[in-house]
Symmetry: C2
């Protein structure tokens, strides 16, 4: 089963697009540390990417600048595709995050080479723009990417905070982009961090 | 765990957006008949929605009309949200499809009532537009919604065709929107149907 059963169309360009489509289905097997809201299991990258894409349609009013929503949603759906090759790096893994940029760049080189050049550039461009976090769309999409696992944590007894192993200062640093760009949402995050510390979910 | 642990922000509008965000995480538990490309398990609605959203970024050139890609991608991410309440209806379940529209309308009434009215109207509008399949974005997104499980079937020995239980004519009817709108893609589908019949995956 899988790509070995792929039947070519006779059009190389179409075939490369179809093969890429099958390839990225591996996002469903890249597990994150975050639990689903019901706590039943860890979520995967496909689910996470979908979730923040819908969120981008909901929270624009708390972001201070105009955002091209269609572009932000596209960024959300592709922002983690390189993890098919590079793996998910846990937010609070300092060593892993040091090598993350290098690993992801190599992953992007391999992965996007499978697409027609124009489309490889387009999707890689969206991913690089997201990663640089400079444009409004990128900062907004990054806020969604930070809010979503934070929110899941607040609903799953701080699961990825590891019963206080992760310290509040580390979470504050991670959520700085939300503090800067979406202060009203950040105030709600602070309440949750207060509760997290009080419950022993988050370290002081 | 879950929404019973939700800590309100003090802003009702923000709270309703956050609650909706947590609510739609249930998409990860709505299982489809389709297998993942590697055949390891059935895919869920969140994964499927994400997958067709990325596909929408790849196959535009085979669609004869200009498409607002940002809008099409948004349609893809929300097109199945009503299934949280209504459940997934198998494509080749004739009885289930008779009651589908009614069940989904009731589901939409309940589900979107949880959002601020403007946002409920916006997302419901995208879903209704998708379902009506009249605008270019809706027809294009619908083509992605048809291509994706078809493609998975071709890579998983025709899994949802049930060893020939589903007949070719039923698949052709289901794929008519691709035939009409994306003829080059449909020619590749026909090759796959020929192989499916030859292998006994698809009934004649």
């Amino acid at each position: 089963m899988g790509l070995e059963d792929f039947l070519p169309s006779g059009n190389e360009r179409l075939d490369s697009q179809l093969r890429f489509t099958a390839e990225i289905d591996k996002m469903t097997a890249v597990l994150r540390r975050t639990l689903l809201v019901d706590g039943s299991r860890r979520e995967n990258d496909a689910e996470h990417s979908w979730h923040i894409a819908v969120m981008a349609m909901l929270f624009q009013e708390y972001f201070p600048e105009p955002v091209d929503l269609g572009k932000a949603v596209q960024m959300c759906v592709v922002h983690d595709i390189v993890e098919i090759e590079a793996g998910d790096t846990f937010a609070y893994d300092a060593a892993g995050n040091l090598s993350k940029a290098e690993r992801e760049k190599e992953a992007a080189d391999r992965l996007f080479a499978g697409l027609p050049a124009d489309q490889g550039r387009y999707i890689r461009g969206l991913w690089e723009e997201f990663d640089a976090a400079v444009t409004p769309e990128a900062r907004y999409a990054l806020c969604m990417d930070r809010m979503q696992p934070f929110f899941h944590n607040t609903l799953t007894k701080g699961h990825t905070w590891g019963n206080g192993t992760v310290k509040r200062a580390a979470v504050e640093a991670r959520m700085a982009v939300v503090k800067e760009n979406m202060p009203e949402v950040y105030r709600w995050m602070e309440k949750n961090m207060d509760r997290g510390v009080a419950n022993g979910w988050l370290g002081e």
